[in-house]
Amino acid sequence: MNMVTQKETEEFFIRLAGALTGGLEDAGLEGYQKSTGMRTFPFNQLNPKIPFCDDLIVGGLAIPPWVIGYLMEEDARKKGDMKAMEFGKNLEMFGEGDVIYALNMLIHHELCLLMEPQIFAPAIKVVSVPTDMSRADVGHKVTKF
């Protein structure tokens, strides 16, 4: 007798699809940032100790399907609508996969920022154009990685 049922396998793939959705959202945003070099919203930080806004957005996008799926399932259970209940459960699992990826990605980024801020979040402070009165190399320490 197979211990892992067909249902469990399907559930795993629904969760994986949710997680991959989160990964693709993240890749889309980071790829856009890399190709344009843009550093304005959403590619900035609200605080140097918290991850970039685009990562927070990916995390935030993972929550609605999870919560909506759960509420839908509960509502359909009360009404006895099996079809809606099944849909709600699948949506909840899809969101669950996305949450598992997105929150752990945020944990990883947060750890990187806390442990090695100078590497993982280089401070974007452009040296002002030197004039006769000021020199960029005075009063600054420029570290090239």
Partner: protein
């Protein structure tokens, strides 16, 4: 009034936590690898900080994904026991082992749920072309972002 979870909800919550911590374990492994890469310059361009092919992610990231797959498969293997190795074991021990295997499979599943999209993302972002360098003040290039200016 405190909300009491039903037995099914409690089971689902435990399963979610197991998967989530499986993902967290993979995220920590990735962090440790990156921390090592940052703090040990001599290890750069050496295995596992090399790529199997120039368009693919680092071996270190692939290994993290592989560990998760191995955990899930080990759990699945003990649970299914295709070689009937647990036939001679005491029934109680066998049940305990199957319960552990189920947890291990879910833990590994969580790791896969983190590492599969992480590898997808890393591959996509790695292959996105960077803009051509331009004079300072026009476009902030990769080269510019790689520097850090500390106001003294």
């Amino acid at each position: 009034m405190a909300y009491k979870l039903s037995a099914e909800e409690e089971k689902e919550a435990k399963e979610f936590a197991t998967r989530f911590f499986g993902g967290t374990a993979s995220a920590l492994e990735q962090f440790i690898a990156e921390w090592w890469w940052v703090n040990h310059p001599e290890a750069r361009n050496q295995f596992p900080f090399t790529r199997p092919e120039q368009h693919l992610p680092f071996w270190s990231n692939i290994i993290i994904g592989g560990i998760s797959v191995a955990e899930a498969l080990l759990g699945l293997g003990i649970e299914e026991d295709p070689m009937k190795l647990l036939e001679r074991v005491d029934y109680k021990v066998k049940e305990q082992m199957k319960e552990f295997a189920k947890g291990l499979r879910k833990f590994g599943e969580g790791g896969i749920l983190y590492s599969a999209p992480m590898l997808t993302k890393t591959t996509i972002v790695h292959n996105v072309p960077t803009p051509v360098a331009a004079p300072i003040g026009q476009v902030r290039t990769e080269q510019l972002l790689a520097g850090r200016v500390i106001k003294l």
